[in-house]
């Protein structure tokens, strides 16, 4: 089984791009992988068998009768929690961005190669936005943890792409938290109402229909858990830090010379991630571009 950064792997291979990543990841949210792709992802069958099964009326019956899968393997696949890698595989297959043999190779290569969640775009953005070289390591560590935690707790593929400066005409919410001590870091996520509700529902296991105390709490608690993991990691490097309370503000944008920003694409929608070593100053952010 490969690591959880299959979306990043597909971006590195040019199958996902800054232009199509948002739509493809959003499609994953509504797509269940077929048995033929699930079995291929687990390396139970090869590309030819997967292609053959995808055309069968009842895939499970066909897989058993042709001895492609054992009853035990079939049971294993049925019990499996939603598999994000297979899901993404199914979407790129549906969009004919790859064929079965291409997908089989991608799964296999991704298994054998650790894919770093922080990519070239991230490195370019760090330089373009003039981030102090001394801060690179902390920001990179934070963003890696951020993406991994997002993928784990929100059960979504996630990656960083270059912001395309498109206008957003919706209320936005910035949830941010500061960490202080041996190192100061303030981080915030700015989301539209719909993305906030989707992410809050996923993290909290609650059906959220409006941005109320519970919706805000779900996102704040996610940030709190994530930042807690970060300060625990830093504590392991003998850099003790403390957490402030997370806060949420409507329609503001963090600004300042050292505010580093990234656009994050997930299956639940896009949002902006902001980081600063000196804290945030806020602008009225009604005209929002990302």
């Amino acid at each position: 089984m490969g690591n959880r950064h299959f979306s990043q792997y597909l971006l590195n291979k040019g199958i996902l791009t800054a232009d199509n990543a948002g739509a493809i990841l959003a499609e994953c949210h509504h797509t269940a992988p077929g048995l033929s792709v699930l079995a291929l992802e687990r390396n139970f069958i090869d590309a030819e068998q997967s292609l053959e099964l995808s055309g069968a009326g009842d895939t499970a019956v066909a897989a058993l009768s042709r001895n492609y899968l054992t009853a035990l393997q079939l049971d294993d696949l049925k019990k499996e929690a939603p598999n994000r890698r297979a899901c993404l595989g199914q979407v790129v297959l549906n969009r004919q961005l790859v064929d079965f043999s291409g997908l089989a190779k991608l799964f296999k290569d991704n298994d054998g190669e650790y894919c770093y969640p922080v990519n070239e775009v991230f490195e370019e953005l760090l330089q373009e936005q003039g981030v102090d070289a001394d801060d690179y390591e902390y920001i990179r560590d934070y963003v890696e943890l951020f993406l991994s935690t997002l993928q784990k707790f929100m059960r979504t593929n996630a990656l960083i792409v270059r912001a395309n400066n498109s206008d957003v005409d919706d209320t936005t919410y910035l949830t941010y938290q500061s960490m202080g001590g041996a190192l100061s870091l303030t981080v915030g996520c700015r989301m539209t109402r719909s993305v906030m509700l989707a992410m809050g529902s996923r993290f909290g296991g609650e059906h959220l229909e409006r941005v109320d105390e519970m919706a805000i709490d779900c996102i704040e608690e996610f940030c709190n858990v994530l930042n807690g993991l970060y300060i625990v990691n830093m504590s392991g490097k003998s850099r003790d830090m403390d957490l402030d309370m997370p806060r949420t503000i409507e329609n503001v944008e963090p600004v300042g010379d050292d505010v580093f920003q990234l656009r994050v694409e997930t299956e639940l929608g896009s949002f902006m991630l902001y980081m600063s070593m000196n804290g945030f100053i806020f602008n009225d952010g009604k005209s929002f571009k990302w």
Partner: protein, 129 residues
Amino acid sequence: MADKLKILITDDSKLLRKKLREELESLGCEVLEAENGKEAIMQNLKEQPDGVILDIVMPEVGGIETLQVIKEINPELPVIMLSSAGTSQKLKETLELGALDFIQKPYTREQINQAVWRIRRKVEENHGK
């Protein structure tokens, strides 16, 4: 002591309190809630819970100060810290102040089972004294 453990959850997160309440009630506990340290101290005096599950980062009165006050009032009361701020420094500080255990968020069901078991054992020890 009644058969049913009375446990006070202290956390400013409404989500956390709701999820943890469900977890504790499924284990047969009676649950009280406080959303900050000040409320937790008041609840301790008024309701006399068998055990407390306590967050650290909270508005008004934080978890460390709350732990100190609770322990001054009732040194034998079992308190389990449940926080995202689980650094080695915080772990050491809270255990020295008399916390029974420290759980890093996000918690697992097994950790909560274990916490309830430890509170029950501590309560039984206190009654046996």
